[in-house]
């Protein structure tokens, strides 16, 4: 009788509704747009292939404005409508707010890019899963630096003052302190980071500060428009001229903005389409380009695909959409995604996946003004931190 999707998957052809709560307006909308498109493409592909246990997937989108209060509001609304399976968050602050909410309201959320380590440590909630890169990507990025630039041992950061910024810095430092001694035998020197406000139009004072530090390597945690502004205003000051620049998560955002003016730098990515040649990645990429016309999708689209794939696999496995069953099914689940197969660690709901980094440099010959000149993939198992759900992650601190 009732079309409640939580009951009996095999008995009806009603679509299974998944909630996508992601920024559809505000400063992070452009990231949310990748999540949105990625999710739609992934669901189309599954539905074309016959759905999950014969039932199609349907998406219900809500705008969370990258604002935890707005996010919990719409998430609750979806829960009220009976949509208990949700995904799409990219912001740490929002993901952290979901734990208690999903627990209280009996829902599940898969985050698609939030970086805070607290999600699977001190703020661990059985109802929130990170199906993509966790915290340990910064450790992988530090390790790669130690391998590629053993001489660059003094580091500072451009760190926006929020949860994600602080996380990036803390974990990157942890990685530097572990891998430089291990790989190069040298002790890295950690210079106090430059804390910058976000949403500001003028970074010149911070740029001058940064230019004065002795550090030879800089890790950047600003993102989006802020990062583009920062990079642009930094150019005349020559901030990046003879420093190594490791960007945490901007993928092509800064490069798209600055084009041929982009400084040569490394950046982490959730999924670099050109380097992933698996059929899953290829089909997804083609469908994505066909739908959006964008030839260079960014990794968040891949994270959305992974989230859809995780739900599809879990539902297929248990045959139910009940919260409890899905949580059980997700724990320890191994599923196939655009970046290859991932396994969700049962203890702390953190997926173990391979980490990808790309190097970007300006290229006047290319029609986008830049090119990807290097690519590195590091297996996640080697850098992931131990699972300590409910307890803070133990980090190395500079002495």
């Amino acid at each position: 009788l009732s079309a409640d999707p939580r009951i009996g998957v095999g008995q009806t052809n009603e679509p299974i509704r998944l909630g996508v709560v992601t920024p559809l307006s505000g400063p992070q909308e452009f990231i949310g747009s990748f999540v949105k498109n990625g999710a739609e493409v992934a669901v189309d592909l599954i539905n074309k292939a016959g759905g999950v246990r014969g039932r199609p997937l349907a998406l219900e989108f809500r705008d969370e404005k990258a604002n935890p209060a707005a996010a919990t509001t719409v998430a609750r609304e979806l829960l009220g409508m009976g949509i208990n399976l949700q995904f799409g968050t990219i912001a740490s602050t929002v993901a952290l707010a979901y734990g208690p909410l999903m627990q209280a309201e009996n829902g599940v959320n898969l985050t698609c890019g939030a970086g805070s380590e607290k999600i699977n440590h001190e703020n661990y909630s059985p109802h929130v899963f990170r199906i993509g890169d966790g915290t340990y990507r910064m450790r992988a990025q530090a390790r790669m630096m130690a391998e590629k630039f053993p001489d660059v041992t003094s580091w500072t950061g451009i760190i926006p003052d929020h949860e994600y910024g602080r996380t990036v810095w803390a974990i990157y430092v942890d990685g530097l302190l572990e891998f430089y001694p291990k790989i190069t035998g040298k002790q890295p020197q950690i210079v106090d980071p430059i804390i910058v406000p976000y949403g500001s139009g003028d970074y010149r004072n911070f740029i001058t500060q940064a230019a004065r530090t002795p550090a030879r390597g800089i890790v950047n945690a600003t993102y989006g428009g802020d990062a583009a502004t920062f990079f642009q205003q930094a150019r005349p000051f020559g901030l990046f001229n003879n420093r190594i620049l490791m960007d945490a998560a901007n993928e092509f955002i800064v490069a798209n903005a600055l084009k041929t003016q982009v400084p040569k730098h490394w950046t982490g990515t959730h999924w670099y389409y050109a380097a992933n040649s698996s059929p899953v990645s290829k089909t997804f990429y083609e469908a994505y380009v066909a739908k959006t016309g964008q030839k260079m999708p960014m990794g968040w689209a891949g994270e959305a695909q992974a989230a859809v794939a995780a739900y599809a696999a879990a539902i297929a496995k248990t045959g139910s959409t009940e919260t409890k069953a899905i949580i059980e099914a997700l724990k320890g689940l191994t599923f196939d995604t655009v970046t290859g197969s991932r396994t969700i660690r049962a203890e702390d709901n953190q997926a173990i996946k391979d980490l990808e980094m790309i190097q970007i440099e300006p290229d006047a010959g290319s029609d986008v003004g830049f090119k990807v000149s290097d690519y590195v993939k590091i297996p996640g198992a080697g850098v992931i931190e131990p699972a300590t759900p409910g307890k803070a992650m133990v980090l190395r601190k500079p002495s």
């Binding site: 559809l24 307006s25 909308e29 747009s33 219900e60 989108f61 809500r62 705008d63 604002n67 935890p68 209060a69 707005a70 919990t72 509001t73 719409v74 609750r76 609304e77 979806l78 829960l79 009220g80 409508m81 009976g82 740490s92 602050t93 952290l96 707010a97 734990g99 208690p100 909410l101 209280a104 703020n123 003052d161 929020h162 949860e163």
Partner: protein, 333 residues
Amino acid sequence: MTRSPALRFLLVLGLLTGAALLLPLVANRGIVFLAGVVAINVVLGLAFNLLFSTAGLLSFGQATFSAAGAYAVALLLLRVPEIPFLVALGAAAATGAAIATAIGLVALRRTEGVYFAVLTLAFAELVHVVIAKTSFFGRNDGLTGIPRPRIGPIDLADGQAYYVFVILVTALLIACLWWVTHSRLGRSFRAIRLDPMRAAFLGIDVRRRRLEAFAVSGACAAAAGGLMGPLTSIVSPDLAHWGESTKPILFTLLGGAGHFWGPLVGAVVFSGVEYATRSLAGASDLITGGLLLAVVLAIPGGLLGLAALVVRRLRRRERPATVTDAAAEGARP
């Protein structure tokens, strides 16, 4: 047909509260949850309108008060879990009143009009930055995991209990605001709005009255804001952002500033539009902006203003039919 304004008000309030309490029977929990948010917004709008239409003060910093209330309740519930919830709400109202008084003491000293508005905006942003940068307030990330409290034997986490509680408290706050608006105090507020100089020369202490209006509005907004935390289980600095301060203004003008119920109509309609366009995100700015512009241009008196106009027009058209009445009345000695 009741004549007394107080009875008429209670009737309307009773009907609205009743309708809100019946909502869970017909709507799903998502809608009911949103209705709780709307109820809080209604109080924020009415508290703004007390300042704007009654006391003649344009405040751009109302978010400060609602955020202060929200943080007060959140901090109390998180750090002093055994505190009775009503006491926490009372503390929220007191915080709002205290902050309003502090800001008012400074801002009302000399400024008026747009300057006052921008000064309240500046203070609001100040509060916003301080909240967003102080660990005690959870910085930019806010405070999460705010529990739904108990009131004596009633666990507000049960089913729709908290929603019912929100509706009852907002009804009470609305009644308070109505009382202030229509009492002797409200009359002196209005006098000050119409002509502060004249009011002063009737012996009214203009600055003190304005401060009182500011404090009352701040207290009500804070009490309403205090309901927010346990409802959404999170408070974040965005609550204090200037964009939040524009909302009560929008509700008020959309609904009709000249009417007590204007902000309610505005909040409900605005939320309805937001809800209807929620999945059209991207175009949502265009739609909200366009709609608002259309309303302001087409009916500057707000929706209730339009309604009143229509009623008046209809009445006038009916008048010929009542000529005999008028004549009869005129004939009376």
